[in-house]
């Protein structure tokens, strides 16, 4: 209920409401961007741009787009994917071709001191690569079920249940 009111005020261009939402979601949004872009400084700049964009697009959100977090997550990953696809970024980065989430998990020392590597490792403990890939595709890369199934060479019907079990493991690790 409180969240719904905040969103309504935000859509009425209430900056205080927007500030509250920023503090609720900024770390998550910047984290999504960082997983995709893999450059903490650039991610901070992009994160700023994404929140400005969220403010500008505030009237475009409605509940048919799902959760508010889902909506801003979508804006963030699209901005980050655009960044990765842009040429300037390619020239800047050298050898981080590994899958986003799997790569960060396995090469978390690259981010040493810049992200919460210990927290990340404990959170992803026990998650198989297939789970990491699936979470990566659906939450960080914006793939559809069909696209994810094709990418992972799995039947579309298994995606939903497998995702359910992967997220369950994640939730157990949180506890």
């Amino acid at each position: 209920m409180q969240l719904d009111n905040l969103i309504i005020k935000f859509q009425q261009k209430d900056k205080a409401a927007f500030e509250t939402l920023y503090h609720m979601y900024a770390e998550n949004i910047c984290g999504v961007i960082n997983v995709i872009v893999k450059d903490t400084e650039r991610s901070q700049e992009l994160c700023h741009d994404v929140f400005v964009k969220i403010w500008e697009k505030s009237d475009q959100y409605d509940t048919s787009k799902g959760r508010f977090f889902t909506w801003i997550l979508n804006i963030a990953r699209n901005a980050a994917i655009d960044e990765v696809r842009s040429k300037s970024h390619k020239n800047q980065k050298k050898n981080l071709s590994v899958d986003s989430l799997v790569g960060i998990y396995e090469n978390s020392e690259d981010f040493n001191g810049k992200i919460d590597t210990i927290g990340l490792q404990s959170l992803l403990k026990g998650l198989k690569d297939k789970c990491l890939q699936l979470i990566d595709l659906l939450y960080f890369k914006g793939y559809t079920q069909k696209e994810a199934a094709k990418e992972l060479n799995s039947p579309v019907g298994t995606i939903k249940t497998r995702l359910r079990s992967c997220i369950s493991t994640l939730r157990k690790n949180m506890a």
Partner: protein, 266 residues
Amino acid sequence: MDVKEYIASGILELYVAGVLSPEENLEVQHFALQYPEIQDEIEAIEKAVMELTKTASPKLPENGFSKIKAEIEDVIPFTPEAAPKKGPTPWSSYLGWAASILLAVGLFWMYTENSKLKSEIELSNQENQGLQEILTNTQEEITFKENLLQQIRDKNVTVIALGGQAVSPTSYAKAYWNKDENKVIIDAQGLPEPPDGFTYQVWSLKLDPLTPTSIGLLSDFTSIDTKLFTLDNVNESEAFGITLEPEGGSESPTLEQLYTLGAVGS
């Protein structure tokens, strides 16, 4: 509906990922309102994803939001609130202006074309009229000359050649005399133009004794191109002579100024 089965299907994980269609999203929300378990499950999934994304987050600058705030304050005039109003209007008005300018130019062009054509028609009409006049004149002239020719060719016409005399040996003239109609046509092409204040006078002559009778003046000599003059002659002429006389003519011929003379043949 079996809430547990619905939750176990994994649809809520997809809902949080944002891969469902708008219709499916609304359906999930509908069930979430109806069954608190579903609402709780959605929030728990979202929390797990948020936790995961949070651990990957770089440190946020402390003044993160004030920077955003500074920027969105600049941005306000350009926010979607203001933009759509401004957006379409200029285009449609530019289009409108462009169309009306085009129309005006087109109308002006048609107007000038039209007046050009009109003046061209007027000019053609004038030309036509001029040509018509020339044609009429020419036809009149032809009729006149045909008449003359006919008169000259008449079988009753006697042709008298008048030769040049002492005062002007190279001069010559011809008289076409129709005795039945009592007319003489003088062809004066071989005479020089008379000096100002003088005119040629034609005389009918009886030779024995020499009796000149004036039958007329070759007035307007200069302006008559054909140099053909028709005069009345009721006399029983034996010869014709042309003298140069002061304007208005004389009672009797000035013989010193006799230009041409010719006797009527038998």
